[in-house]
Symmetry: C2
Subunit: 542 residues, 2 copies
């Protein structure tokens, strides 16, 4: 059987665009005499549709789209993901379905059984788990079709008591298909290969795996669809972070020229660029603004934004104050020059003075402190939003994960923006990523990478005045946030007790700030945002 994998970038709720894209790929497959073309999980509506699934109207639009797609499936079959009604009176009203389309109509529905609810996933919120799974009979072959998580109940880490493949295998299928919407994180591609191999090894069947590609707000899907033979060998690896269409013969799988799994920083760079690009495109925006402080975070954000949107569409603004060092301006100017960006300079000292003067009465008898530092940051936020409102740009936020974790940032000031580009990148990785971007020549001026980090909100201020060194801070944060290590475990691992307690307290007491951040492009297994849900008034560790 000739199978095509269509690895596509969908747009949530944009039925017209998604349907057109799917139809175009069916035509393409037909022209190549393909027997079966496969699309990813919830392809018709995009993933994750979240509470849109609670509108009957939305489901009807999904089902209409599937029916329209089915009419094109004459002389070819397709598998496409979408929600479908659960007609039983008990249980949730929907299934997460894979539709098997042939002879111009829906031939059968195959429902997802294992519904993830961890991290960013909320599938059991909407869907009833399938109780009946069955293979597809097509052109004399039996296909064991599953959806994403259905293959992830691997031994030793079972979150579920049954696996649908254990039922499907009894029908002696010829091969497996898994349609997925598996979001990117730095280690996910490797994990995914292991999980898929665990399945081929257990069930001794070839596996055709198709994943979403593209970004949906904070979630970035890396594609990287693949084909494994019955012994777990990767026979084909589709590209990362881009659309692709490939054809395979199920009877004679040949090892194709393989895409390599990119390096860590290549993956992060490509993911973030795609994240920016899709956020703008899917919202119908073209231009971005951001504040250039002379520091490494805004420099990196600008470099990524220029890659994503083009140098003519990014408008950095320099907003020096009396506390800004000369190099802040000269380094920023050099960066703009390297990138070919226009820039704009707005001094904030006079605006600050006007606040200061209006606050004389209220602040009488108090000393310059955090309140005054934050005013400067909020003046900058207001100026950037003025650019955004006036010219229809989206403000890119430049906070990194380390400072978001410990609350080292000003709400409505440097924490403002429509999208947080590097909010899931620890500071130590910010340095590495800048060096990676400079691999073929200096784009981000070396001085920006090597000078000591500073917020420059008072004279001679450095991050190191109030925070531990970033390598130690980041490793504690990583163990706590990504690995869920307790204070006792961290201390046992050799970290200083007082430091551990201080850092975890900062993380927990700053939950209220993170509640108000823009969506953060997710590149780790545990990003701030929808995948991490913490009570603001919680007293634990704070």
């Amino acid at each position: 059987m000739k199978i095509a994998i269509a690895q596509l970038n969908y747009h949530i709720g944009n039925f017209e665009a998604n349907t057109d894209k799917i139809l175009a790929n069916i035509q393409k497959a037909k022209a190549e005499n393909v027997d079966l073309v496969i699309f990813s999980e919830l392809a018709v509506c995009g993933y994750p549709p979240r509470d849109f699934l609670e509108f009957d109207d939305f489901i009807e639009l999904c089902v209409n789209a599937v029916e329209k797609i089915a009419t094109a499936c004459v002389g070819i079959a397709a598998i496409v993901g979408g929600p479908y009604w659960n007609n039983e009176t008990e249980g949730k009203k929907l299934f997460n379905s894979a539709f098997f389309l042939a002879d111009g109509k829906i031939q059968s529905n195959h429902y997802k059984q294992l519904l993830p609810t961890y991290d960013v996933f909320d599938e059991y919120r909407y869907f009833e788990p399938s109780e009946n799974v069955k293979c597809i009979d097509y052109l004399g072959e039996k296909i064991a079709l599953t959806i994403c998580e259905d293959l992830w109940n691997i031994e030793g880490k079972e979150l579920y008591s049954e696996s649908p493949m254990d039922t499907l295998i009894k029908e002696s299928p010829d091969f497996m298909i898994n349609i997925a919407a598996s979001p990117f994180s730095v280690l996910q591609a490797d994990n995914r290969t292991e999980v898929l191999q665990w399945n081929t090894n257990k069930y001794k069947l070839p596996l055709f795996y198709v994943n979403h590609v593209g970004a949906q707000t904070e979630l970035i899907f890396d594609g990287a669809s693949c084909v494994l033979n019955a012994t777990g060998e990767v026979m084909a690896q589709l590209p990362f972070f881009e659309e692709h269409f490939s054809i395979f013969d199920t009877k004679s799988l040949e090892k194709e020229l393989l895409e390599k799994i990119p390096s860590k920083f290549k993956k992060i760079e490509t993911a973030l660029v795609l994240g920016i690009k899709d956020y703008f495109k899917k919202l119908g925006f073209k231009t971005a603004t951001l504040g250039l402080s002379g520091g490494i975070d805004s420099a990196l954000t600008l470099a990524l934004a220029v890659k994503a949107l083009g140098k003519e569409n990014v408008f950095p603004i320099l907003m020096p104050s009396q506390f800004s060092s000369d190099h802040s301006i000269s380094d920023s100017l050099e960066l703009c020059k390297n990138l070919g960006c226009k820039h704009h300079i707005i001094e904030i000292e006079k605006i600050y003075e006007s606040f200061d003067s209006q606050l004389t009465d209220l602040f009488k008898g108090t000393e310059f402190g955090i309140a005054e530092e934050n005013i400067q940051s909020r003046i900058r936020g207001t100026l950037l939003m003025a650019q955004s409102n006036k010219f229809g740009s989206i403000l890119l936020n430049t906070s990194n994960k380390s400072e978001l974790a410990v609350g080292y940032g000003t709400l409505y000031g440097d924490m403002a923006g429509g999208l947080s580009v590097i909010g899931d990148v620890y500071k130590t990785d910010v340095f590495e990523l800048c060096r990676f971007i400079n691999r073929n020549g200096e784009i981000i001026p070396d001085n920006i990478i090597t000078k000591p980090p500073s917020a420059e909100l008072r004279p001679d201020q450095f991050d190191s005045d109030s925070l531990p060194d970033y390598p130690i801070l980041d490793s504690i944060l990583f163990e706590y946030i990504e690995n869920r290590q307790s204070p006792a475990n961290l201390i046992e691992m050799g970290y200083d007790e007082a430091l551990v307690k201080r850092i975890l307290r900062l993380v927990n007491m700053n939950e209220y700030k993170r509640h108000q951040t823009p969506p953060i492009l997710r590149i780790s297994s545990k990003a701030f945002g929808m995948g991490r849900r913490v009570p603001i008034v919680g007293k634990y560790l704070s």
Copy 2:
């Protein structure tokens, strides 16, 4: 058997405070010769603990607390809620448990079977549903113990395929106990009574129901625990929105003086006051600030804040501009006088001029518009945050639900704050609530309630310039947000097609703004926040 219901206000993750409170109530019950005292769902850690449940350390602290409480249960028994380990290798690692404590130790665990994942609930994210349920044998009686949602699988609306009471009833229990954490919304008290009665009618048993009371960030728990006899008659109704301790004899239930279910606006007022009070108390704050515009939203927020925190702890700031009408100031001053609050006035015109002057170059050739309006709003946000940062107050946000829905507000300006007090109250209800607050005499000046709403960001601006009248806007929003009506349904209900499309488009395209709002005190069945999860880049209806 003598049963005590302890309706208490817990603090998430504050094990010391929660344990002390539970122990004090056990002592009180002992002193009254009570046989069994019952506490609510997840009482030891507070509800909802959310991702704190992912830390083994947190679970150990919960179990330690339960064990400590158990040692006090000598000569008395207690039922207390907390998470507990699932020791099976398959499935999620925790159960949502009710611990039966007697003779100084944990006698048995009773796990929740029905785990809600709709609206604000995420229980299947953490917990494995119970497969085995059993009654408690105590003092010669059999108790059918369930946890919250376990009783909510009522006929005709079954979300689940089995109900634990259907199993428990086979043991012929003498009565039912349900321990709950059921958050308040305006109609919830009535719904709850109906659901509990559906159970007493079906199983022909008396029911002792204990609920959480108190606010946890956005969720407000109204308590209102109750006792029903075997024919569904409410024999006792505990108070709404406050802690309480009551004793009952299971053999001779007598109808006690009943608390009435308060009126709609009494409930909303009390809920919001409790919401403010607990947010401050649980975070360790005492004082609040807010901006007084002369409009009805900030007036209502101030009146509620004064009730919650005391007039000496609330610091309203008036920030007039050249566009403010005289009555904005005079009405606000009168309100402050009525409430006995100190106020502060800061003119913003000069600060605005300093922004204007620094933006001359960037804005060259453009006209006064949204960008300039927003600058004024953000100057106010910055001034209020300056007060907050300088004096350690929390800024109360004053946005209402109608304007949050359609995006009629300025991010980092009037949308700023640590807590949104009336963000789940539609504008039409804001008017009603103000009238209710004035029921015993004018607190909120009548002119504030009757004058036409205006943002006063440009000359002669009124809400009605850009929005439909509030009664029509609110009824469309209510049908769409709370009732999940589709555009087609709304048009069928008689609403103007163009208006429906315009409003739904506004709701959906402003999702990005609501992503950055403070937590919103929840009083409806569908509030913006954790219970409503919508993709920002979604194209559906936008």
